[in-house]
Amino acid sequence: MKGIFSVLVENQSGVLSQISGLFARRGFNIDSLAVGETENHDVSSMTIVSTGDERTIDQIEKQLNKKIDVIKVRRLQERSCICLEMMLIKVSYTPSNRGSLLEICLINDARIVHMGAKDMIIEIHAAPDEIENFIELVRTFGIKEIQRTGTVALKKD
């Protein structure tokens, strides 16, 4: 199963390495990890997506809670939160297939942020599965490079 954790941590050096170290040490998966400051400068927020069986996901929550630099751990359900990810993807094109690539971008609400002679950089914000889907759609054009931010999530209510 998938576990999405929204984790508030002390914004100080070494905390990210503590959290990633915890996952590495105990053999937990990290599918994605996104970190940023919150409205308080001394608090950072992490969204960590992991997969594992129920007991593992439970253990992750408990082990995170045990960390003194972790202020709060919330486990989010996909259906009750907004999960978004941003991706920059550099895709090759030719004059003949450029039109269909632009069409795919238009349908998927993706934006072209840079246009080169042979490739373009496309920006897309979407749910992680939609991002996966978009990658598949443009794969035949030739993907040169991808940068993804990892999932960020907020609970709706």
Binding site: S17, G21, R25, R55, D58, Q59, K62
Partner: protein, 542 residues
């Protein structure tokens, strides 16, 4: 105005610290200068690891945090094993390390080691102090973190310039600890979960308590004992749980696990309700937790650390809280279980389970020795067992009365017993303290005989000498068809000369007939004494 180092000393004084164990160096020199004018006595060990183990021994006896201190770099890294040992056994220690100048951090200067990074997985928490003004708050937090919730070591790394920095004001009493990410569980546990436990007990016919080291660390022995006696529920324990019930207690059914009593394991197998308290359900106690989950047995897991519950074993009823508080509550509840038939059954199991292990009577039989020694020790004596066959013979055969049995059950750190015994004896000079080790573990820590000698600690040490790293030898015997590699210790050193070198009395016993008289002579002695007890090398634990 005082400087950071003086503030550190004042913090320790305010926490009631009277002795600290350590090893100086340049990066911690300002702190040592601060100690010069303090009543806190510094005990110089002979290697930093021993400072950690000695603090551990002290902490386990005083049941309060104890302090060790080292310099930066190798001083700090030498301490890691002791920290890992204390962390695995949940022992409250405050470790202070010197660090290079904060301006130079990260530049790989002389004796710089990233100790807060390195100790991350071996400590409950770590501080790298960046401003001397923070020192009083950090010390107060460190003592609070180490001694609350699940106990554990806390490291404070202080760069030398921070130790020298002057601070404006120092008012330790005024500091309120408020750590937003650290709220130890409430004392008494969730009332609804407590009720579920009561119902489970009343519905059971064959309830059994499995007590771990957490019962002792949480100062809950009395409450668990009172609960057992009121309800008639029998008890088994892990190695770290030795001492929750005395061996002669009618509800006592031994140590479980692969180094424990076979009848204790059978008791676990046959129970219909297993109440695990303050135990990690680690592999040496319960080899196959999945087997326990099968069937209809109800499992209650009580622990102060939420993360221990469900880590290795999925309990039916989890209960988070302090052992003393929870068992005090449980004792007041209306528990109606009748265990008389179950106790009859357990007594039958105990008498009919045949122990097939054979021990050689050549030289001294190790089993007889541990029984004879512990039987003659004071009621409230402290027995410090090292690691190896000596530890397992000790744990299995020690006759627990009302004293303490200290060992490193979690990490299994060889060389623990001598420094830990020094710490224990310095904490309570009125108590009889005996360290029991093997010839392997003794040689890992024998430099600390000097620490004991110089500080007039009348240490009593037994070496169960078999000329081998016995437990590894046993493993090679069982697993690798006696292809012994790297396990022989031969006949050195000459222990009589070691004893003489450190002004210790010396007793040698290699004959079963002389065991009793030797032990009596050993225990009666006021001086420090080294007793070598020769055992046959082919003796195994199993």
């Amino acid at each position: 105005m005082i400087n950071g180092a003086e503030a550190m000393v004042k913090c320790l004084e305010a926490e009631g610290i009277t002795k600290i164990f350590g090893y100086p160096g340049v990066a911690i020199a300002p702190f040592y200068d601060g100690l010069f004018d303090s009543n806190i006595e510094h005990i110089l060990v002979r290697q930093e690891q021993a400072a950690g183990h000695a603090a551990s021994g002290w902490a386990r006896i005083s049941r309060k945090p104890a302090v060790c201190v080292t310099t930066s770099g190798p001083g700090a890294t030498n301490l890691i094993t002791a920290l890992a040992t204390a962390y695995a056994d949940s022992i409250p220690i405050i470790a202070i390390t010197g660090q290079v100048d904060s301006e130079l951090l990260g530049r790989d200067v002389f004796q710089e080691a990233d100790i807060t990074g390195a100790a991350e997985s071996f400590t409950k928490y770590r501080y790298l102090v960046k401003n001397a003004e923070d020192l009083p708050r950090i010390f107060k937090e460190a003592f609070y973190i180490a001694s609350s919730g699940r106990r554990g070591p806390v490291l404070i790394d202080v760069p030398i310039d921070i130790q020298k920095q002057e601070i404006e004001d120092f008012d330790y009493d005024r500091i309120q600890v408020d750590i937003r990410g650290y709220k130890p569980p409430k004392k008494d546990g969730n009332p609804q979960q407590v009720q579920k436990v009561v119902e489970a007990i009343n519905q059971s016919k064959k309830p059994l308590i499995c007590a771990g080291g957490g019962v002792i660390l949480g100062n809950g022995e009395e409450q668990v004992r009172a609960f057992c006696e009121k309800t008639g529920i029998p008890l088994v324990h892990t190695m770290m749980g030795i001492g929750v019930l005395p061996k002669a207690h009618p509800l006592y059914f031994g140590m479980l696990g692969n180094n424990g009593k076979p009848y204790a394991n059978r008791a676990v197998d046959q129970s219909d309700l297993l109440i695990i308290v303050g135990a990690r359900v680690a592999d040496r106690a319960i080899a196959k937790p999945k087997n326990l989950e099968k069937g209809t047995r109800t499992i209650v897991h009580i622990d102060i650390d939420t993360a221990e519950i469900g880590k290795n074993l999925g309990p039916t009823i989890p209960l988070v809280g302090d052992v003393g508080g929870i068992f005090q509550t449980l004792t007041k509840e209306n528990i109606t279980v009748d265990t008389s038939a179950w106790l009859d059954k357990l007594r039958e199991i105990k008498t009919t389970t045949v122990d097939h292990r054979k021990f050689s009577d050549e030289f001294v039989n190790p089993i007889t020795f541990v029984k004879e020694l512990s039987a003659r020790m004071d009621e409230d004596a402290v027995y410090v067992a090292d690691v190896g066959q000596n530890q397992l013979w000790s744990a299995d055969n020690y006759i627990m009365k009302s004293g303490r049995f200290l060992t490193t059950g979690g990490m299994g750190t060889m060389g623990y017993s001598i420094p830990a015994a020094i710490g224990a004896k310095m904490c309570r000079p009125d108590k009889q303290v005996v360290a029991v080790c093997g010839d392997g573990s003794f040689q890992m820590a024998m430099n600390e005989l000097a620490t004991a000698r110089v500080n007039d600690v009348p240490l009593k040490i037994v070496i169960m000498r078999n000329h081998y790293l016995g437990l590894v030898r046993e493993y090679q015997y069982n697993t690798y068809h006696s292809r012994y590699e790297g396990v022989q210790l031969y006949d050195t050193p000459h222990y009589d000369k070691i004893a003489a070198a450190y002004d210790m009395q010396y007793i040698y016993v290699d004959d079963n007939q002389k065991v009793e008289s030797s032990i009596e002579e050993f225990l009666a002695m006021d001086d420090a004494c080294l007793m070598v007890c020769e055992v046959a090398s082919e003796n195994n634990v199993k």
